[in-house]
């Protein structure tokens, strides 16, 4: 039996759409029991354990700007399994599988849709999950 870890992605939508770097416009954090690496940056490494549930959520820094997670894709397996015309109707949560190798970084990509248009998609390729080595 595992617990739950919430991973929150905060996006300054106007900064991101204005061409600011991800370091200036994206920050990530989680509430896991073991403090993450690089919290407050788009390079968040979340410690997790098999059987635990992970929930991803997005918060826009300016509340009136629309933003939603369009997909989460693990580099190791591709995906996403679902697409939706309206990303705001998707919820992103799942259970950490037992097959993960402790100490290995499992990088993933979060695609964020901000409003609608040719600049709408923001791809964050730098976060990762890791199952800590047993101490």
């Amino acid at each position: 039996m595992g617990g739950t870890i919430n991973i929150v992605l905060a996006v300054d939508v106007i900064a991101a759409l204005s061409g600011q770097t991800q370091e200036q416009s994206v920050l990530m954090m989680d509430d896991g029991p073991r403090t993450a690496e690089n919290p407050g940056t788009p390079h968040l490494i979340t410690y997790c354990w098999p059987g635990w549930q992970l929930n991803w959520a997005i918060r826009q820094i300016d509340l009136q700007t629309p933003a939603a997670i369009k997909s989460i894709r693990f580099q190791s397996l591709g995906g996403p399994l679902m697409t939706a015309a309206d990303a705001s109707t998707l919820v992103w949560s799942g259970i950490v599988p037992a097959c993960l190798i402790p100490g290995e970084l499992y990088r993933y990509q979060i695609a964020v849709e901000m409003a609608r248009g040719i600049n709408s998609m923001l791809f964050i390729n730098t976060p990762a999950l890791v199952v800590p080595l047993a101490v």
Binding site: Q64, F74, L81, D86, S88, T89, I95
Partner: protein, 273 residues
């Protein structure tokens, strides 16, 4: 997840007062145009609202509407709320500085006479705002460029060569939100205190219960202000004129789905690194 929607209402107060209605004189805007809202820039706004629900039928998200009302002839809402008083105070300080200079120059036998000085003296034009509930408060008349409109001693100076300075109107205010959507419990409007100090530090917000998909209408009750000047006392008063206009919400029906599985929660799709 809460989503906030800003609804901006701009009123052509002169046209509305002349026509006796807000219809055709009101322009609605909001920032969900790409998501299905219609009627931008017209008096017939239909806001698209995502009514999302979970598999068990319960409501998945709530929507908050924030209303901002202003007049075409009002100063930008981004200016400080007490901007008129700040400007009047600056003008008073300038007048005092000029008076001190005159006194000093007088001592040095300058030739400007106090009569000329007083002829050019400018003081702010105060006005009374009568709120829809009858309370009275005071403000200072500014033009569109933020300059105090002067009650000068020498009135012959007024609209001569220069373009006639317009008096910036105090913005209309929402006094109530009613209608079908409120009666049926679809939206819960309330007036909130705001640190932004727009409209006296109060603004109207509404929480939308998004579980009833269809088009719902609501009515905005808006007080416009007519500037009335007493010809004998020159006292200027902003008198409220109540009007109303309808707008609509189109609540769409959208099931929430898990992005990884399309259904319930499963194992994360992670393979070998």
């Amino acid at each position: 997840m809460t989503q906030q929607l800003g609804i901006v209402v701009i009123v052509d107060v002169d046209a509305a007062l002349q026509a006796g209605t807000l219809e055709g004189c009101t322009y609605f805007f909001e920032n969900a145009g790409p998501f299905g809202s219609t009627g931008m820039g017209t008096d017939r706004l239909v806001s698209a609202i995502n009514g999302t629900y979970w598999a068990d039928g319960s409501q998945a998200s709530e929507q908050v509407l924030n209303f901002v009302v202003t007049g075409v002839k009002s100063l930008p809402i981004t200016l400080p709320k007490d901007y008129a008083h700040i400007r009047a105070r600056q003008q008073e300080l300038q007048t005092l500085a000029a008076a001190r200079t005159l006194a000093a120059d007088d001592a040095a036998a300058n030739n400007e006479s106090p009569v000329n000085f007083f002829a050019r003296l400018r003081t702010p034009q105060y006005s009374t705002i009568r709120s829809p509930s009858g309370q009275r408060s005071e403000t200072i008349l500014l033009d569109y460029l933020g300059q105090p409109v002067s009650a000068t001693f020498d009135t012959s100076e007024l609209p001569s060569r220069r373009a006639e300075a317009g008096v910036a109107q105090i913005p209309p205010i929402i006094t109530d939100i009613t209608g079908e959507a409120v009666e049926k419990g679809i939206i819960y409007p309330a007036q909130y205190g705001s640190p932004d100090l727009v409209n006296g530090g109060w603004y109207w917000s509404a929480t939308v219960a998004t579980f009833s998909p269809r088009v719902w209408s609501y009515t905005l009750h808006i007080a416009l202000y007519r500037l009335v000047q007493d010809l004998t006392t020159h006292q200027a008063t902003w008198e409220p004129v109540q009007m109303s206009i309808d707008a609509k919400l189109n609540i769409l029906n959208r099931p929430m789905r898990n992005g990884f599985t399309g259904g319930g929660t499963g194992l994360l799709p992670i393979g070998m690194p």
